[in-house]
């Protein structure tokens, strides 16, 4: 049996955040076969809701990367 030991409140918080996403956007209700987000008319743009949610965050990271690389170039170029 696999057991993950949670060390401290912060690690538990990560699991809680993950479960919140799962509950709100992924898991469908038994009665109406809808997620809480769908009940609020909030759409996740993908057939696979997990992939949809991951894509949203990947897009956000992609937007942040160019600025990081230019900063890195500025740091590296004086050294060269």
């Amino acid at each position: 049996m696999w057991l993950k030991v949670c060390r401290g409140v912060k690690e538990v918080q990560n699991y809680a955040d993950g479960f919140r996403v799962f509950h709100n956007y992924i898991r469908k209700g038994v009665k109406d076969k809808k997620t809480p987000a769908e009940r609020c008319n909030l759409v996740v743009p993908n057939q696979n809701r997990w992939i949809g949610m991951i894509n949203q965050n990947v897009q956000e990271i992609k937007q942040e990367v160019p600025s990081a690389t230019t900063e890195m170039k500025n740091v590296i170029s004086p050294l060269n």
Partner: protein, 214 residues
């Protein structure tokens, strides 16, 4: 019969004189640092000349519900009186350590976190009284991380008209389409509360929504 008619006649006259016309309660909801107070300040400054509350880069600057009565908004010849209700930012976790990054002392940060938590509870309580709710989101961030499903679900169940505002469109990272694609069935207005960009469209949407009040 005649007495009944007379009574109804006087009732109609006196209620018209003494009872004030109901003000539309316009509530600003959203995550911390989305620009709720900035937007409320902009509207109040435009129509009353006064501000509603202080604005800061530190999250949870507004920690109690602030309201301004009788804000008369005039747009394209139409006039409507609103009661503006600015609420604290809704967050599911408030950690005092987050405030330490902004060079706030530990004791003050703990106090701020406590007040912010009480503010969240207070703003949820105010949800019962709203006629129109404006959900202010940061257009530069992922809408799914910002939105609170429980609150939107509550509003949908109560049939309270909702307007989604994508704030901070003046920033290069802003993406309104992402918010529009997440909320296909809601009115989404992109604006910049700081610079007063695109407020006309916001007023038009608020006037349109006010017709849907039940």
């Amino acid at each position: 019969m005649a007495i009944k008619i007379l009574r109804n006649f006087f009732k109609r006259i006196f209620t018209g004189i003494f009872v004030h016309k109901k003000h539309v309660k316009l509530g600003f909801y959203g995550p911390p640092n989305a620009g709720k107070t900035s937007l409320a300040n902009r509207i109040c400054k435009d129509f009353t000349g006064e501000e509603m509350g202080s604005v800061s880069k530190v999250p949870h600057e507004t920690r109690s519900v602030q309201f301004k009565e009788r804000v008369e908004i005039e747009y394209k010849g139409k006039k409507m009186t609103f009661k503006m209700i600015d609420t604290p930012g809704i967050a599911t976790k408030i950690d005092y350590e987050d405030f330490l990054k902004y060079k706030i002392k530990k004791k003050e940060a703990k106090k701020r976190a406590k007040e912010a938590t009480q503010g969240v509870v207070e703003s949820i309580k105010w949800l019962d009284d709203m006629n129109i709710v404006v959900i202010v989101l940061d257009a530069t961030e992922n809408p799914y991380n910002q939105v609170n499903i429980t609150i939107i679900g509550n509003l949908v169940a109560r049939k309270i008209p909702v307007l989604i505002v994508a704030n901070k469109i003046d920033l290069a990272k802003a993406d309104i389409k992402r918010i529009e694609s997440a909320f296909p069935e809601y009115d989404v207005v992109g604006l910049s509360a700081k610079y007063g960009k695109n407020l006309e469209e916001f007023y038009e949407s608020v006037f349109r929504l006010s017709k849907k009040i039940k």
